[in-house]
Symmetry: C2
Subunit: 199 residues, 2 copies
């Protein structure tokens, strides 16, 4: 963190955007293969054809790197899911739909998920901005599902935050070997039923 931060992302040169993309891509690939510990900074640098110092100029720590990678993944998930209103007549049904899709999407690549979620939890105050980007993306998804066609509802943002907390916590429990993959979804579904009971 001694080097100066890179300029605003939207004022980067084409070469810099390409470097950033190569770094994220190498990170996702390594994480997908071997999880958190397989994402080694020297290896990421080598694969993205960038010097170690340059990697640290773009992402000041391994946690920044992995949380940024997750933000990019959540962005993609969000774009896929927000193409249309989630189906379902009740809030609970719609939220179940998006959270089930999100959960399945993560469980499809457990090692990648482990790496990203672990980084989210390890994030300290210096990573707040990147972490907030991830949480905002997930929150938007859930809030949209709660609202459905009915527009703003009371407490919808707070409810989304609670459900997101439970969602993350259950992923962690799964990654920590304390519950099975199938139980993740069962518990989240239960939480949705309890929190959005008045449907």
């Amino acid at each position: 963190m001694t080097t100066t931060a890179p300029a605003q992302v939207d004022s980067e040169t084409a070469a810099q955007r390409a470097r950033r993309a190569r770094i994220i891509s190498a990170t996702l690939s390594l994480a997908s293969r071997g999880g958190y510990e397989a994402v080694q900074m020297r290896e990421v640098a080598e694969r993205s054809e960038v010097a170690l110092g340059t990697l640290y100029r773009y992402f000041p720590s391994k946690v920044h790197l992995l949380v940024s990678a997750m933000a990019s993944e959540v962005d993609q998930l969000s774009q896929r899911l927000q193409k249309r209103q989630p189906p379902g007549k009740t809030r609970a049904e719609r939220v179940s739909f998006v959270l089930e899709r999100s959960t399945r999407s993560l469980q499809r690549d457990p090692l990648l998920t482990e790496a990203m979620v672990r980084a989210m939890m390890a994030a300290d105050v210096t990573v707040a901005q990147e972490v907030n980007a991830v949480r905002q993306g997930m929150s938007d998804l859930i809030v949209q599902a709660i609202r459905g066609d009915d527009g703003v509802q009371e407490h919808d943002v707070e409810l989304a935050a609670i459900l997101q907390d439970v969602w993350f916590a259950r992923q962690i429990a799964w990654l920590g070997g304390r519950i099975e993959a199938a139980d993740v979804w069962r518990d989240i579904h239960l939480a949705i039923g309890l929190v959005l009971a008045d449907d």
Copy 2:
């Protein structure tokens, strides 16, 4: 993790119990002073007058060590709180009571909390047993508050799990610098109201 595990805790000699206690005590003291990063294995070993290899025989990793320390702290908290039924006429009031006490108890020593919660989140499958001890302790506390004098209630264990998830997640958000200490309690209180709404 190459050394053989120590014998069952209840079959340890007095000297071994004393070593274990010295290690936990040194850990708590270092964590309280400087948080997660201040708990350095060499320093813990030196302060507890134990060789580094011995420290690793008792606690196979830094995360094991800190989660075990948290289990011991939760035990103490639990014993203090369970002396009598939490006051309050409704489930929400009683749960609010124990979670507010627990939250205050943690916020009184932020660096210690940071160290312990961080370890909880970093725990992988090899720490499942220790993590479960902590969660069980917290769950007992909350379940007892939900039940009050009314005995077993529907979904009380699941509700306790959800509230514990939110409780942990809000601590992390606080430690991650994303919300203020005061907001931790506000959010948890809100979650209690939403999850235990039918009082």
